[in-house]
Amino acid sequence: MEDFVQQMVLGMMTGSIYGVVALALVMIFQSTRMFNFGQGEMATFTTFLAWALMLHVPYGLGFALAIVIGFVLGAAMERGLIRLVEDKAPLNAVIVGLGLFMVFNSLSASVWGPDPHTFSQPFKGAPIDILGITIGKHNLYLFVVAMLITAALYGFFQHTRLGLAMRATAYDRGAAELMGVPTGLMLMMGWGLAAALGAAAGMLVAPIVVLTPNMMFFILLFGFAAAVLGGLDSAPGAILGGLIVGVMQNLTGVYLDDVVDFFRMPFEIKDSNQYRDIVAIGLILAVLAIRPRGIFGRPLIQKV
């Protein structure tokens, strides 16, 4: 039982990163009704920049600077590129996202090479013990920061005028425009914020999965899984979805062979670990097939 709780907690730690990425995706979806498939690669690029910065400045300063750079990058993308495809067919937006994916992936690989880099960790050392559960220091730090980011964003969006303006722009751009909200600026900030979130996620996860150009690739995919599961219209859904995906992944990786034995299924599984990613992706497909709006999302109504 203790082992089970341990695995659940570990899953929640990884899940919090998926939640942060999902939050970024949901933010962009809410404001521009499109997905940025290049989100992960932009985050990787910013993480590489942070790595380069941290060779010269301390961790905290490098972290903050990278967040700012990520913000500027995202805002620039929106203003320069996305503005041009917003009102066109949705397929165009997907393709522009893929174009950004290729550009940033290739830039990262070109400048820093395909070999893994070590990203500095602020908390090193032996794992600590809380209530009988062993948690790595960095994992705990990661979880706490992710929750802090979520709380901060919640406070920002619910209790500040700027957050209100951004929510208004996402909900009904025309009406917001009429109420005097500078919607163009709000969209830029939305994208900037999402990119900053992605950068934070990248920097938090880099010490664990080692910094390579393809680092965020699977994490982005699981971020999609979390966003879809939680509901693309809902920010708390994104976090919850992330936690669920992380927990499911971990539990599958450890217990799937036992589950198969328990139900006496006609086949045998020797190594559950292989099924971690498959299960997470299966979750995306299942959610999309059964209940595309996710847990908290609003049903998609198409006007004819």
Binding site: F101, A109, S110, K270, I281, G282, I284, L288
Partner: protein, 490 residues
Amino acid sequence: MSRRQASIAAPQPWELAAAFGAGYFFWFLADGTVGLVAGAGGVAAAIVLNRAAELLLPARPHAGRIVWGLLILAFAVAAPFISAGDFRTAQMATAGYVAIAVLGLNLLTGYTGQGSIGHSAFIGVGAYGAAIMVDQWDAPMALALLTGTAAAATAGLLIGVPALRLSGPYLAIATLGLAVAFTPIVKLNELADLTGGRSGLNLFDHRFGPPVDWDWLSDARWYYYVTLGSLIAGLILLHNLLNSGVGRSFRAVRDNEIAAGAAGVNVPLTKLTAFAVSSGYAGFAGGLLFMISNRFISPESFTVIMAIEYLVVMVIGGTASLPGSLFGAFFLVYAYREGIETVSSETESGSDTWLLAAGLLAGVGIMFTSQWPAMLTKRIAGVLGGSQYRWAVGNLLRLVLAIVIALLFVWLFRRATEDLLDLVSLRGAITGAVLIVVVLFVPGGVASLFDRILALKWMTVGDWLQSAIALKPAAAVSEMPGESAGSAAP
């Protein structure tokens, strides 16, 4: 010869470009002057025949097109004999199966509007299907290919059912998940007996030799002809399909699903057909991939990067366009994979020709098609040379500035690639940038430019040149015919 006859006889701009292009391509293929002569000479012969057809058969306006079609076919059939060796022949065969895969993707995404980033999974199913048939039951080539195709088409149907209710970005996510899931599923230890698990299937020793034992028909050439034949058959099939009622229902679903349903189109059946046929094409291409890449495939051969690459070149070549898909395939094999490596290795070994050419192109492009250099240099030239020499001095200034830009570009590039950047890895960035430019400014892809290029006349080219070197004010410049997106404001 009358003036009209002379104007018919003279080669059009695009024909000259085609001669140049064919000459270069075949020079590259043959690695020698034989190719150059063959390419340029063939196009010249086609131009002559085209004119002959126009003059002798005025009642048949399509005769010219038939001539060009026959020329392309002749080139395709003769290519293995002009090529420098088995590697180049295999490369052309690769372009062939990539074209088949991109045609399938175009059917699904371009003509039916179902944006899919999962094509690599279907290609993988086809490849593994063919490979398993060979591995387990020693199947002959045709049977293996057919099994791969059938397996992929079935997979497409299975995916198509849940995909019926998905659209746009949701479908993209679902297919992305599919493409990513393919690799770990194939790697599963539980399936390793069948799929070879992590290390893939290596059936290199298994030859699919040609049915007749002719001296000149090496294995590579045999694969090439199989691929060529399949590509032609696939093109004809797709062309007929798209011009039939089924094809119209594809387009109807793409343009407005709800309206199509209201008009009586069976939308689910149409979508499922699109998925099945598209995956079938992908599976066939996968089987060919298995054969041509030394009968070795592994789970890592079919990643989502492949799916993205195919989607990207499809868009660059032209969504919803059959010749566009062919162009896209050529772009992938010859520009994306081969071209950048050639440029990179030549640049690294010290040759600045490519860089200088690119820089000059950029410099001339900026200086002579934008309005601000014209206005700026007009002012300066007015100050320097007085009003009668303004034109000459202005153009000289622009030329000098263009050369400066070119040299700056070369210098910057050299500095950057020395310590910072690696050109070969940048090919993704370059292709991504090309893709974004295409999506924003040339929505139909390169194929949409074909019509404009074919209609280009010398007079238009002359007019455009004249407007470029004239230091006219902005309003007159933008009225010039044949102007492209260079001066379009967003």
